[in-house]
């Protein structure tokens, strides 16, 4: 993984950019087709199937998340905000490369 190594905490906007690329790949869509203020479920993300997404996010980001994270933060914007906080709290300052 080519981490963007910076010492300062990650901004929600960095996380959002990363999330858009990941969700575009997972949902097999183009990044510009995703509206970050819309509920992710609008794009066919099944609520129960979303359970598996928290595991993927945990594995990719190296942090621990509540399983229902995508239920609690149903838009990419709100999820990015939450993840930025979690990453900072758990001492993570880098994201996996967007094209990883």
């Amino acid at each position: 993984m080519n981490g963007v190594s910076e010492v300062k905490p990650l901004e929600a906007s960095d996380v959002l950019l990363w999330l858009v690329s990941r969700f575009a790949r997972w949902l097999k869509m183009k990044p510009d087709e995703l509206d970050t203020s819309q509920r992710i479920s609008q794009y066919g993300l099944d609520s129960v199937a979303a359970v598996s997404l928290s595991s993927e996010l945990e594995d990719e980001l190296g942090i621990q998340l509540e399983t229902a994270v995508i239920w609690e933060y149903p838009t990419l914007e709100s999820l990015a905000g939450h993840l930025a906080g979690e990453l900072s709290r758990q001492g993570i300052t880098t994201l996996p490369a967007v094209d990883a």
Binding site: L27, I40, S41, L45, S47, V48, S52, W71
Partner: protein, 593 residues
């Protein structure tokens, strides 16, 4: 199982009496007769109430006698071997109550405990006519009208909807739905206006014909704000977690059904002479009986492991419960089909051999794979987490179940920790511990390898290697299938098929772990491991050639002899076997028209 649990199961077994004796309430003849009449097993359920079974559905801190799910598994198996209708009709109270034990207020819990201890029934109002397993499409809803909450809509195919005193009801609380759009309610029929709900009549079913499978229609039913279980909007989480418990426990029903199916088929096969031979001495039916016995032992290990894991590794149960619920009922369905070939025409009769009990079991058992999440629902739950469950290196995840947890799960002599309802999760933290610890089995068995005959030790060692190889091959296949499946969407058909394979391998690993860790506490036949070799060989497929044909034939003979012995001695067909209520004419067909 510990002595206390064994004693309770024995007590209930003794109390219910010989099911082959038509004079008993819990006799096969009565069960069939009630089924023919499509009549609710009232007398049978009253007997269970008189014995005090409802107390085992209630946590001890609320005045009940529940201590472990292993205990409940053994109690329910004893009931289920006599009559699935009664076992389901009675046991469904636990399904209705589990969400309350898991997430309700102390007041709600105390109230429900009193209802159950007073013999009141509780049911779970989950499914609706138009939506089946699709919970998020549920239409039954609570509307906040002025000062009041009102409940609208119809729940359908609900066990005991009519007879129950209370129901937990899955309802929509946000018109938009979504994962935070549903809530659970505890509805006490004694507290709602009788004019605001109506009962939907019992529907005719293929099996468990006497069961009260009906519905309830709420028509603006006024609900107290105290009726919500947990937070408003938490209904989906609580329900998915509660089902992890009941899915695991459903296996007791299949285990009981399989025991009786095998027992009454053996009754026939040992008596029946055809082509100058007794059926048990003819190679093909003999093989079918042997395989059924092995499959039942595998189901037993898988179910016992699951029931104990509920206490020790609740965080694993989103997948583990789905494996048990998928593997055990479906394997028992196949087992019963196999046995029907041994019985021949008698499997189809609604009277004569054993009062026609076999055909009732065929029909009754078919529902077990359907309720509390169908086989498809369970396979999906497994498929969604397959990749992580098969991960090679569990050590990277700090929440990994440690080795000592697995020891407690599979060492049946070890007391279980107190059950913690709050510890359940919607997904598992990491790799499946039953696979990630396989590499240590050889070391754990050092003493056994030294003492066991060469043939047995070598065969088992090669099967452990074979199982590890099968897990590894599955991992490769899952990786490939994962990449072509859009994440967060429904898993592909290929992932479903791999989830099925995962279940089979999990069952194989469960047998191996249970035997490895409990061997010293088992009867000599079960501790010597020959049954395990044959069972694993069967699970892993015929490619698992472990020794020469003559040795396999010898081992099969030994296992078959044990089957006949357990039948003759009137003991449960289980790894932790149990003495059953005495039969006056053991080995004979004591019920005939």
């Amino acid at each position: 199982m510990t002595m206390v649990q064994k004693t309770q199961a024995l007590e209930l077994e003794d109390y219910l009496g010989d099911p082959f004796d038509s004079r008993n309430v819990f006799s096969f003849r009565t069960a069939v007769e009630m089924d023919e009449l499509e009549a609710y097993p009232e007398a049978a359920c009253n007997m269970l109430n008189d014995w005090g079974l409802p107390a085992y559905y209630v946590p001890a801190k609320l005045g009940g006698k529940f201590t472990s799910f292993e205990q409940v598994l053994n109690l329910m198996r004893v009931v289920a071997r006599r009559d699935l209708t009664a076992a389901i009709a009675h046991g469904k109270t636990y399904l209705g109550a589990v969400a309350v034990w898991m997430a309700a207020s102390v007041e709600q819990q105390s109230k429900l405990a009193r209802i159950i201890l007073d013999r009141g029934q509780v049911s779970l109002g989950l499914t609706e006519q138009g939506h089946g397993s699709d919970l998020m499409a549920s239409d039954v809803e609570v509307r906040h009208e002025g000062e009041k909450y009102r409940l609208y809509g119809r729940k359908w195919l609900i066990n005991n909807a009519t007879r129950s005193r209370a129901l937990t009801v899955f309802t929509r609380t946000d018109p938009q739905g979504g994962p935070r759009g549903f809530s659970l309610l505890l509805v006490d029929k004694a507290e709602i206006d009788r004019r605001q709900y109506s009962l939907v009549p019992k529907i005719k079913t293929h099996g468990i014909r006497g069961a009260d499978i009906s519905g309830i229609q709420f028509s603006g039913c006024s609900i107290s704000p105290d009726a919500f279980i947990g937070k408003i909007g938490s209904g989906l989480d609580i329900t998915l977690k509660a089902l992890q418990v009941t899915r695991t426990m459903c296996s007791a029903l299949s285990l009981g059904a399989a025991d009786t199916a095998l027992r009454i088929t053996l009754d026939f096969a040992q008596q029946r002479r055809i082509y100058n031979n007794t059926v048990v001495d003819i190679p093909y039916p003999r093989q079918l009986l042997l395989e059924s016995f092995l499959d039942l032992l595998v189901c037993d290990c898988t179910a016992v492991g699951g029931a104990r894991a509920l206490h020790v590794a609740p965080e694993q149960m989103s997948v583990w419960s789905a494996v048990v619920k998928n593997f055990v009922p479906v394997t028992v369905e196949t087992l019963i089909q196999q046995l029907s070939r041994v019985l021949g025409a008698r499997f189809y009769l609604r009277e004569d051999h054993c009062a026609g009990m076999f055909q009732k079991i065929v029909r009754d058992n078919a529902i077990v794979s359907l309720f509390d999440g169908s086989t498809a629902v369970n396979l999906e739950m497994i498929a969604l987490q397959l990749r992580r469950r098969l991960r090679e290196n569990p050590a990277t995840n700090t929440r990994e179940t440690p080795e000592d947890k697995l020891s407690t799960i599979f060492n049946i002599a070890e007391p279980l920790p107190e059950f913690i309802y709050e510890a359940f999760d919607l997904s598992c933290p990491g790799a499946d511990p039953v696979f990630s610890t396989l590499s240590r089995i050889n070391n754990q068995l050092e003493a056994f390898w030294a003492a066991a005959p060469d043939g047995v030790a070598n065969a088992l060692k090669s099967l452990v290697t074979e199982l590890q190889g099968a897990v590894s091959a599955l991992r490769t296949e899952v990786e490939a299938a994962w990449k072509s499946n859009a994440l967060g969407t429904r898993p592909s058909a290929r992932l479903f098929r791999l989830a099925q394979r995962y279940s089979t391998l999990h069952a194989a690993a469960s047998c191996l772990h249970l035997w490895t860790r409990s061997r010293e506490h088992l009867d000599p036949f079960f501790s010597d491991g020959i049954w395990l070799i044959l069972a694993l060989r069967r699970l892993l497929g015929s490619s698992a050639i472990v020794t020469d044909d003559a040795t396999v034939a010898k081992w099969e003979g030994q296992v078959f002899d044990e089957l006949l012995k357990l039948h003759r001695d009137n003991r449960l067909f289980a790894v932790t076997t149990l003495a059953l209520s005495p039969r006056e004419l053991v080995g004979k067909v004591s019920i005939q028209q």
